[in-house]
């Protein structure tokens, strides 16, 4: 592992990856009532308080109502949380406390396949949340159709990125408590300063540059807002390229960092 390029080595995969995904799905289905509630309630609460509450003081923002402005941000944040938290705390519990990974790699599955299955599941959680949220937001009249439908496949890809990011932290964290650090230092600032609740342009120039260069949520919000409003942002092509490159790099990094942690 002295050669840094080895951290970007391609994983070796077989269709058995899906068995890891199926395992997590089976647990999810078993407890579906609790799992489906948050993504259903969250957009309602946020839209009522921020969108229509705070929004009543804001006649218009970037040419749309405040509720319309933050609706895509709510979807983006839900995608971020679903992917990131599934592959940090939940994955860490499976890896360290439940020894689920140890049990699985005693079968023909490889550690590569376990990690990729976990990330695919994190992406699926983001996808499920989005599928639940969109009809709710639609009923509030804050989505443009049919463009908003493209948010559904995009949610899986964006979820894949946040799941991979989470997995990188899981690979490096000394214990479950230290996972609070990326949550407070990375996820929370991103939640607030990625053009989610107010335009990036209100921020000082260098903070704007930082947000565009480093915060994946900025680009996810850009893409989803372009779709839900039905008007492409000028940043859209750049955001798509940024997300593609970041997803590939972070995904490979996640798999190899986890291998470095687990293959001993």
């Amino acid at each position: 592992m002295n050669n840094p390029l080895r951290l970007l080595a391609l994983p070796r995969l077989t269709p058995r990856v899906l068995h890891v995904w199926q395992r997590n799905r089976d647990v999810f289905v078993k407890t579906y009532r609790v799992n489906f509630l948050p993504p259903f309630l969250e957009p309602i609460l946020y839209l009522l308080s921020l969108g229509f509450g705070v929004g009543s003081f804001i006649p218009e923002i970037a040419g749309v109502s405040y509720a319309q402005y933050i609706a895509p941000a709510l979807v983006s944040i839900s995608i971020m949380n679903a992917g990131f938290f599934e592959c940090t705390y939940a994955s860490y519990v499976r890896m360290y406390y439940q020894k689920t990974y140890d049990a699985i790699i005693a079968t023909p599955l490889t550690i590569d396949e376990v990690i990729v299955g976990e990330i695919l599941w994190g992406a699926t959680r983001a996808f499920i949340n989005t599928v639940i949220m969109l009809p709710v937001l639609f009923l509030f009249g804050v989505l443009d159709l049919p463009w908003s439908l493209f948010v559904i496949p995009f949610a899986f890809l964006a979820g894949f990125l946040f799941a991979s990011i989470g997995m990188c932290f899981t690979a490096m964290t000394p214990g479950i408590d230290t996972l609070n650090l990326p949550t407070f230092l990375f996820i929370t600032p991103m939640f607030l300063f990625s053009g989610t609740f107010f335009p990036l342009t209100l921020l000082p120039k260098f903070v704007q540059y930082l947000a565009v260069a480093l915060l994946p949520l900025t680009h996810v919000v850009t893409v989803i807002r372009s779709l839900t409003l039905g008007t492409p942002s000028p940043l859209l092509p750049f955001s798509l390229v940024w997300l593609t490159v970041a997803t590939v790099l972070v995904f490979l990094l996640a798999v190899n960092l986890m291998k470095r942690r687990l293959v001993i």
Partner: protein, 302 residues
């Protein structure tokens, strides 16, 4: 017939620590082979290399005639593993645990269902089929792990401390089942701290310490070779030492006692009681534990 496992000069290093140091051994088809040794001897590391989850540093390791490196999935398809720590899936019931595990092996559903039925009967858990894992006793969990390790009908079963922390009933049930598995022609490799377990189950075993193999052979032979048939214990006093020296007996201090290893316990006992007029003298058959402690010492291992 080709050996099931063949290790030659097998070595595993973690940084500066040599966990397994050039060990060589063969496990033949159909035998129960034991790895004994104090904590940190390198047993579990050796097991992990055989299971294809920990890559070797040096040497050669073949399982089913295949070099481990590069054939991980093919080898793992044919082995069953009972790990030291329980790693059942706490999110599922007994039945679902086995079903999910069968899926990892790509076993088709109808076949998996039939096998699970059969295995639950085998480990006497049929009535616990729909019980969540947390409701099982330690012995039940261990039995379920054994059933899980058999789901793919493995040619080789690897057990790391299979009966640790179990009551005698549960332990005997596991032993009985392992004998049945062996009698069907399967190969079993196990590590254990329970020397009685090793003595009862193993056809052959090795005693490891500090990453190396100290001795290898059938348990009875090892006892005979390294401890004689009997052990005579007496208080550790200069008189007893002098007496044993005069008899030409092999002896070692073990705590406050002297232990003499002998094939003629009567003569030694008679001499100690009669000629040397010793108070406390006891003779008993030698066990694997005597061999183990002689070879690895009494010092505590952390």
């Amino acid at each position: 017939m080709a050996p099931v496992i063949e290790a030659t000069g097998l070595t595993k290093r973690f940084g500066d620590l040599v966990a397994v140091d050039h060990v060589t051994f063969r496990v033949e088809q159909g035998e129960v082979f034991g790895f004994l040794g104090p904590n940190g001897a390198g047993k579990t590391t050796t097991m992990r290399m055989i299971q294809c989850v920990s890559p070797k540093t040096e040497g050669s390791l073949q399982v089913f005639g295949m070099e481990v490196e590069g054939h991980e999935s093919e080898i793992k398809r044919q082995i069953g593993v009972v790990p030291q720590e329980n790693n059942l899936d706490p999110d599922f019931t007994v039945y679902k645990n086995l079903l999910v595990y069968a899926r990892y092996f790509d076993i088709p559903l109808p076949e998996a269902e039939a096998t699970i039925q059969e295995l639950l009967t085998f480990v006497e858990l049929s009535e616990k089929r729909d019980t969540p894992i947390e409701k099982l006793s330690g012995g039940m969990k261990r039995r379920l792990i054994l059933a899980r390790a058999l789901i793919n009908r493995p040619r080789l079963l690897i057990l790391d401390e299979p009966t640790v922390g179990l009551d005698p009933q549960a332990r005997h049930l596991i032993w009985e089942r392992l004998r049945e598995i062996r009698n069907r022609g399967n190969t079993i490799v196990l590590t254990t701290h329970y020397l009685e377990e090793a003595e009862r189950l193993c056809d052959r075993l090795v005693i490891m310490d500090r990453g190396g193999i100290l001795v290898e052979g059938p348990p009875r032979e090892l006892v005979k070779r390294h401890a004689g048939t009997h052990v005579v214990e007496a208080d550790d006093t200069p008189q007893v030492r002098a007496c044993l020296d005069r008899l030409g007996a092999r002896y070692e201090p073990m705590g406050e006692l002297l232990q003499a290893y002998t094939d003629t316990p009567r003569d030694v006992t008679r001499a100690l009681v009669g000629e040397c007029q010793m108070g406390h003298v006891a003779a008993r058959p030698a066990t694997l534990e005597d061999v183990f402690l002689r070879l690895t010492g009494r010092k505590l291992r952390e």
